[in-house]
Amino acid sequence: MMEILRQLQLLVRITRTRNIARRYFVVNGFDGALTMLGMIMGFYVSEAATIDVMISACLGAAIALGMSGISSAYVSEAAERRQELRELETAMIRDLGDAAHGRAARLVPLIIALVNGLSPLLIALAIIAPLWLSAIVPIVPALALQIAIAVAFVIIFMFGMLLGKVSETFWLLSGLRTLCIGAVTCLIIFLVSV
């Protein structure tokens, strides 16, 4: 088990996967959070849809975000890794298919695709969880939407904190900045819908 972990660590290091995966996680996760916030805000302002319609629409969008994240990241990363491997093979004047670099070129696109796809999917599911709860616990749909909007804002703020940690800037400022992006999004949706 330790040997597998060491091997995986080496492959991740060879391809600088940690930074790339973190970037994909933040970019697509933020995308997922903002998309769900926009949809839920739209439902909240329009007051027209039933909870079932809201859940189906949000779930459909969440699954589409996940599938889009997995497929797009896999296709682009696999092409990038193959290109990098070819360049290294030319420099080394040997086939690296059976070496750590070849294994990394095959495995890393899968890891990045999973991160890129699961990040918006799981975040979207967390944001629409209050809508599901409203089907079990007897609360009014408007309250469920308000809770979902609050969850979305908390997640968006946490993304800001994470970015602050990565860029070694003040976490609160960074969190407030992403929170502002969410607030502006809500404001635009509200103005368009009125």
Partner: protein, 89 residues
């Protein structure tokens, strides 16, 4: 019985894994391996290194395998020391 005591290898390797990781991986092949690596030349994507391995009984095939599996190429054996001595009990 003939034992390989010392090996000096000329190896071309990618920048990653670095010299420390390569040395550790080679040293991992035997309980008493002492490994030192000198970087001789650095290019855009590769570097040429001189690897010196010392032990009571170097298993050359294992060393060559680990070098290959880490993406490096063994160019030549530049120095070797072997000894004919009784096998340990």
């Amino acid at each position: 019985m003939v034992f390989v005591k010392k090996l000096k290898l000329d190896v071309l390797k990618p920048h990653v894994p670095n010299a420390l990781e390569l040395a550790r991986a080679i040293a991992d092949q035997g309980h008493d391996y002492r490994v030192s690596i000198v970087v001789m030349e650095v290019d855009e994507k590769t570097e040429t290194v001189e690897i010196l391995i010392e032990s009571e009984d170097i298993q050359f095939e294992n060393v060559a395998d680990i070098i290959r599996s880490l993406g490096a190429s063994l160019h030549s054996i530049d120095e070797i020391q072997v000894a004919n001595q009784p096998a340990p009990d």
